[in-house]
Amino acid sequence: MSRLQLHNLGRMFGVVPAVDNVSLTLTDGEFVSLLGPSGCGKTTTLRMIAGFIKPSSGTISVSGTTISSPERMVAPEHRGMSMIFQSYAIWPNMTVAENVAFGLTLRKMPSSEVRARTEKMLSVVRLAHLKDRYPSELSGGQQQRVALARAIVIEPAVLLLDEPLSNLDANLREEMRSEIRRLHDEFKITTVYVTHDQSEAMVTSDRIVVMNQGRIEQVADPVSLYTKPQTRFVAGFIGRTNFLDGLSDGTHIRFDGFSVPADGVKAGPASFSVRPQSISIHAARSADEGRHGDAWWVQAVVAERAYLGEYWDYGITPVLSGQMLRVTAPPATSLSAGQTVWLAIDHRQAARVPAPEACA
């Protein structure tokens, strides 16, 4: 049982807080991603968990035992963890099999068992036929599998991954992220995965921790994170969105250029995150009351358009408004710039977010 717990964790670099008061608990066997832009503190957090960086404040514990605190650090080699590095860090002076067996031999396991486990692991990652090759003879994806095999074969208490796919090309990245999830489903190792790529996080993770400027913005499963972002940062970072910032007087919410019924929104600033696919385009205000009846209707003009194959991407500006909204429409919906349309904004799919700093 490996429950990983971060408690009020912080790390200063000089006077700059790289990680600021982060608290997080992973249940046994859980797969959690740390997601955020570069410099958000996710890698620092991971390296603190690994024991390469000492926290300035707070503690890290595994199954109740404290392993990191500003006073005391268990050395990385005594943490029973594994890590996959951005550079893979496959040792070029050892063969594939030697790389994978390394952690086992350090554990003073009988050589017959080392060999058996290594071979089993190599066949799990489909590298059995390459076991006597040297890393320089492998492709990027194969090296990645060696790194996975080497990390998992020791059955670590916690598996750490530091942007493991960032050096692979796009197709391979898609393949490997499914591979990582498959291996997790097979071995059920408590895993922390650092990435700046939201789709990687969404494919692999049970829960995602969105970080920004050293702090946790939100922790949630992928669906909630997308549909119910709690901060403007999360809404903007996970997928594309439109922010509608308005002011409610109790009966109506006044946005830039149009207003809609308040529907229970109390008086005061009212901001919403609306995904491009939550807005639909119509030639006229629809009679189809059933589907779009209680949507927010607004008349608008098509400002720009781009065809992306899977959908059309439109920039549409409500009449009397300065704000352009991103709207996606099925490939068959072809509109030209300058055309006047009606937008139906489905506010049940919109998420209430804090008002921007300036209005608050």
């Binding site: 024991g51 990385p76 005594h78 029973g80 040792w91 390394f102 554990r107 020791i154």
Partner: protein, 558 residues
């Protein structure tokens, strides 16, 4: 409360070693120059003596002139060749590079000996040829002159400049030149207006180093200037060290040389720090070869001419003399003999020993230096200890100390009791270690920086300690780099002259000192034979380096 870290002991130990090798000798040099020798009182009397006579001032002037002339001549030799090899379609580039490398590894004093055989007044081969051709009763060249000294120092200094400039040229993207060509600029004008200005910082930086090397040189001036009856700073220092030894005057006399070096080195670093434009545009830019047409043969001729002056002719003269009963009789079968070698190795009192000494001291200095610099480079690059940068700085500090000045410092620090190390092998080994510490450190830290720290972290997270990481991963990965670093310390240490000169004793002569002694005897056949052995040994070692480390191991800029 911080746990006591065993690494602290390592830090203290390394700091103590560096204090012994670097700080103390320099401190003693300056202090002894300011103290009266018998009373120990503070005084400027030593400086008054050191600069009290016109001929001492003249020697300093000669040194500065020599430095300027050598640098100018080196630029003339190196710039066209570097440009030709790096940017044009001149043929036989590989051979040119190889011969330049041969010139680079040739000890300058060996070249000087070769040139004494070639251009000694009247007897030299070139003078003989001239007299034979023209019927003139007098030779054309006299190597025993200021011009002669300038010429032979430049011949063996320009390869450094060549390597420096051509590696800078290698980083200039052809697109820079293409951009000028597209706007209607011709080849020559592009070179003058675009390419050369881009590498100007490198040229200036290399020129400063050339100047510093030239003024610190001892061997060639000893062989040429002393018979020609003029002095430079280094030969003047030798005279202060001749009985009666006036080490404190020598120290005072050496301090300005140290200051000049320090200032110019600082200047060089500043120039190269602003190099910006060259190194930034270098990566990935494709390089196009400039087609010269018939001019490429002109450049090849020029390069071949220069290299025959510094490699082919002197090597030929040296090997002829080494294998001759009397070198003046030329290449005849009955003039051939191996007796010169046999005499040196078996019959001479100290010559055989000096060969062994040279390799023993160089090997020991290389081993100590590599262990020391690797430990420090590792600690610095992994930020294991606060204040580690100070150790790195101390390792690089001897780079501003001319070898002969270092020797004066070591003499001042360790010749008197309680150390009383004068004339011992220990002192020579330690002095060599210090002298080449910067070379070793630059190599060691490059080797360590070349290895991603994640390689070690991967060991540690899987359960191996730092020692396992170093033994199983770091050491195997750095093996090539370590051999390269070892060789780059060993090669110059095996022929170091100026540092050995004031520190050797009767039993601790090195090959380089032995060569100088033999030259005073005037027996050129035996002198050439010893030089020949040194040359062969150097070539063998360089070949080993090629084989195990790679072709470019001598030419990486530090």
């Amino acid at each position: 409360m911080r746990r006591f870290d065993p690494l602290t002991i390592v830090w203290v130990l390394l700091a103590a070693i560096l204090a012994f090798l670097v700080i103390n000798p320099m401190l003693r040099l300056v202090l002894s120059s300011l103290q009266a020798v018998d009373t120990g009182d503070w005084t400027l009397a030593n400086y008054a003596i050191a600069y009290g006579r016109p001929r001492y001032i003249q020697a300093l002037w000669n040194t500065l002139m020599l430095g300027v002339c050598v640098t100018a001549l080196c630029l003339v030799l190196a710039v066209p060749m570097a440009w030709a090899v790096s940017r044009t379609d001149m043929p036989a580039k590989g051979a040119i590079k190889l011969l330049t490398l041969a010139a680079f590894v040739t000890p300058p004093y060996l070249g000087a000996i070769g040139w004494i055989l070639l251009a000694g007044p009247n007897a030299g081969w070139l003078n003989q040829a001239w007299m034979g051709l023209t019927g003139s009763g007098e030779g054309l060249f006299n190597i025993y002159s200021f011009a002669g000294l300038t010429f032979i120092i430049a011949l063996y200094s320009f390869p450094y400049l060549f390597i420096f400039i051509s590696s800078a040229l290698d980083t200039v993207s052809s697109e820079m030149e293409d951009a000028a060509n597209v706007l209607g600029c011709g080849t020559l004008r592009t070179m003058v207006r675009i390419t050369l200005p881009l590498v100007l910082p490198a040229i200036l930086g290399g020129a400063i180093i050339t100047f510093l090397e030239a003024i610190a040189l001892f061997g060639s001036p000893a062989l040429i200037a002393i018979p020609a009856r003029f002095n430079v700073v280094t030969t003047q220092l030798l005279q202060f060290f001749s009985p009666p030894v006036r080490a404190e005057v020598a120290a005072a006399y050496a301090v300005p040389l140290l200051l000049i070096t320090l200032c110019l080195f600082g200047l060089q670093r500043r120039i190269l720090r602003r190099r910006g434009f060259v190194s930034m545009t270098g990566k990935g830019g494709e390089r196009r070869i400039i087609e010269l047409g018939p001019w490429r043969w002109v450049l090849l001729g020029y390069s071949a001419f220069v290299l025959s002056l510094c490699v082919l002719l002197p090597y030929a003269a040296l090997s002829q003399a080494a294998l001759a009963k009397a070198w003046g009789r030329g290449w005849h079968l009955d003039n051939l003999t191996l007796d010169n070698f046999a005499y040196l190795l078996f019959r001479h009192e100290t010559a055989g020993q000096s060969v062994l000494n040279s390799f023993y001291y160089a090997g020991a200095a290389a081993c100590i230096g590599i262990v020391l610099t690797l430990s420090i480079a590792y600690i610095v690059s992994r930020r294991l200890l606060p204040g580690a940068n100070v150790l790195g700085f101390l390792c690089m500090a001897p780079i501003v100390v001319p070898g002969i000045v270092l020797a004066v410092g070591f003499y001042a620090a360790y010749a008197p009791p309680p150390f009383a190390l004068y004339g011992t092998a220990t002192l020579l080994i330690l002095a060599f270690t210090t002298r080449f510490l910067p070379v070793g450190y630059a190599q060691a830290s490059a080797a360590i920086r070349g290895i991603n720290p994640e390689m070690e972290e991967a060991v540690r997270i899987l359960g191996g300690g730092r020692i396992v990481a170093i033994r199983r991963v770091l050491a195997p990965l750095m093996r090539r780099g370590m051999i390269g670093a070892w060789l780059l310390v060993f090669i110059p240490a095996s022929r170091e002259l100026s540092t050995a000169l004031f520190l050797y004793g009767p039993k601790t002569r090195t090959m380089s000192v032995m060569l100088l002694d033999l030259s005073e005897e005037g027996n050129f056949e035996r002198l050439a034979a010893l030089g020949f052995m040194l040359l062969i040994a150097t070539m063998v070692i360089v070949a080993i380096g090629f084989r195990f480390v790679g072709r470019d191991f001598m030419q990486r800029r530090t």
